[in-house]
């Protein structure tokens, strides 16, 4: 009877100790699924849905460099540059030697510099009668700069 109790408690210990590992494994697999789906929708230009998927993936597996890299791309596409920078930096922290992440981050920084240069120019003093322009943008097709 004592031996039976011992085996029972041993089995229970084993089960409980492996539960977190099993849960982590499951979360990782789910995160990969989210990333795969996110890529699929991003490929079709559905960036809002892609962002949601990559956010889910990053929440499920905070160690996933892919999730953070892809989240950085979608945030950049949506014009949320501060958040995009943070996501790329996190991705690089997780995989510092990943060439693709580094390349994305370099291109992001290059574009960011262009934007900041433009903003700095705007901030320069203007003639007295010039009221400071409001940042709101009109709805137009806009022109393009190729990067």
């Amino acid at each position: 009877m004592t031996r039976f109790r011992f085996y029972l408690s041993f089995a229970a210990c084993l089960l409980f100790s492996s539960l977190p590992a099993l849960a982590a494994d499951r979360a990782e697999r789910n995160a990969k699924k989210e990333v795969a789906f996110g890529i699929d929708v991003a490929r079709r230009g559905l960036w809002r849905e892609a962002r949601f998927r990559f956010e889910q993936a990053a929440a499920l597996n905070p160690e996933s460099a892919s999730a953070f890299n892809n989240l950085g791309v979608t945030l950049e596409q949506q014009g949320e540059f501060d958040k995009a920078r943070a996501a790329y930096e996190r991705a690089l922290q997780l995989q510092p030697k990943n060439v693709s992440i580094q390349q994305n981050f370099d291109l992001f920084r290059e574009a960011d510099e262009k934007r900041n240069k433009k903003l700095k120019k705007d901030a320069q003093p203007k003639p007295k009668e010039t009221p400071s322009p409001s940042p709101a943008a009109p709805k137009g097709q806009g022109s393009e700069i190729r990067q």
Binding site: K32, V35, A36, G38, I39, A42, R43, A65, S66, N69, N70, V73, E76, Q77, G79, F81, N98, S100, I101, Q103, N104, L107, F108, A111, K114, R115, K118, D122, K126, P127, E129, T130, P131, P133, S134, P135, A136, A137, P138, K139, G140, Q141, G142, S143, E144, I145, R146, Q147
Partner: protein, 250 residues
């Protein structure tokens, strides 16, 4: 045998589906860039013409630029583009400025014309009146300069030649080369047609240099320079997009 084939196919499938084999995907992205000027209160835009030099490089600079900007604004902004028969600023200048009796354009004429242009550009009442006439649009105007410059001179050149021993050596020297440059400077002013007040002012300048073998007319050079300048001009009143590619990782 059949079992072996199945196993092989299964292994290949697993290899293809494994994360190690999954490849990254390059996607095109467009990042938004806000316009410099909030034009949401305007429904129309009027390119009112430009103050130019009296003796230009064989190009009617003001109407050419007005027409080009009207075309660009039509596709790049949602504002309705007003198309007057003749740029109103140039009409006003023609009325105000009477050239001297001399057939040739003198330096004094040029200075007077320029000064008159400057005066009109700063005349709030003139722009308010023009705004009333065209239902309070956003008015685009300013000053333009387009000039040809001689950039001929000695240029350093190097060539690979064989010396007396048959060895390939680099020989450097100077050679006189004829070159010309075209320079386009534009001071754009964005004026509120309702008040006649200046909203924003910006200067753009572009230059192109041609070698002696390139026979380029001033007009085509002008269009080349305007083509470079236009994205910056449009960035003032319309949002822009920076295009690029990024890599998504599986």
């Amino acid at each position: 045998m059949r079992m072996q084939a199945r196993l092989l196919a299964g292994a290949m499938g697993a290899a293809l589906l494994s994360p190690g084999c999954a490849s990254s995907l390059e996607v095109p992205i467009e990042t938004p860039l806000k316009s410099k000027l909030d034009v949401s209160k305007f429904r129309r835009v009027l390119v009112a013409g430009f103050v130019t030099d009296l003796a230009d490089e064989g190009i009617d600079l003001s109407p050419e630029t007005s027409r080009l900007l009207q075309n660009q604004l039509r596709s790049a902004s949602k504002l309705q583009v007003i198309e007057p028969d003749r740029p109103p600023l140039n009409q006003a200048l023609a009325k105000a400025f009477k050239p001297s009796e001399d057939v040739r354009v003198t330096r004094e004429d040029r200075d007077r014309y320029r000064a008159e242009g400057e005066r009109i550009l700063q005349d709030t009442a003139f722009w308010r009146k023009l705004g009333e006439e065209f239902q309070n649009p956003l008015i685009v105007t300013g000053k333009l300069t387009f000039e040809e410059q001689n950039r001929s001179g000695f240029q350093q050149e190097s060539a690979l030649v064989r010396d007396s021993r048959g060895r390939v050596v680099e020989r450097r020297g100077n050679r006189y080369a004829e070159r010309k440059a075209f320079n386009l400077s534009a001071d754009f002013s964005f004026i509120d047609g309702a008040t006649g007040r200046l909203l924003h002012k910006e200067r753009f300048s572009e230059e192109v240099v041609y070698g002696e073998e390139q026979k380029v007319s001033p007009l085509s050079s002008y269009f080349e320079l305007m083509d470079r300048l236009l994205p910056n001009f449009l960035g003032v009143i319309a949002p822009q997009k920076i295009r690029g590619t990024r890599v998504l990782l599986p």
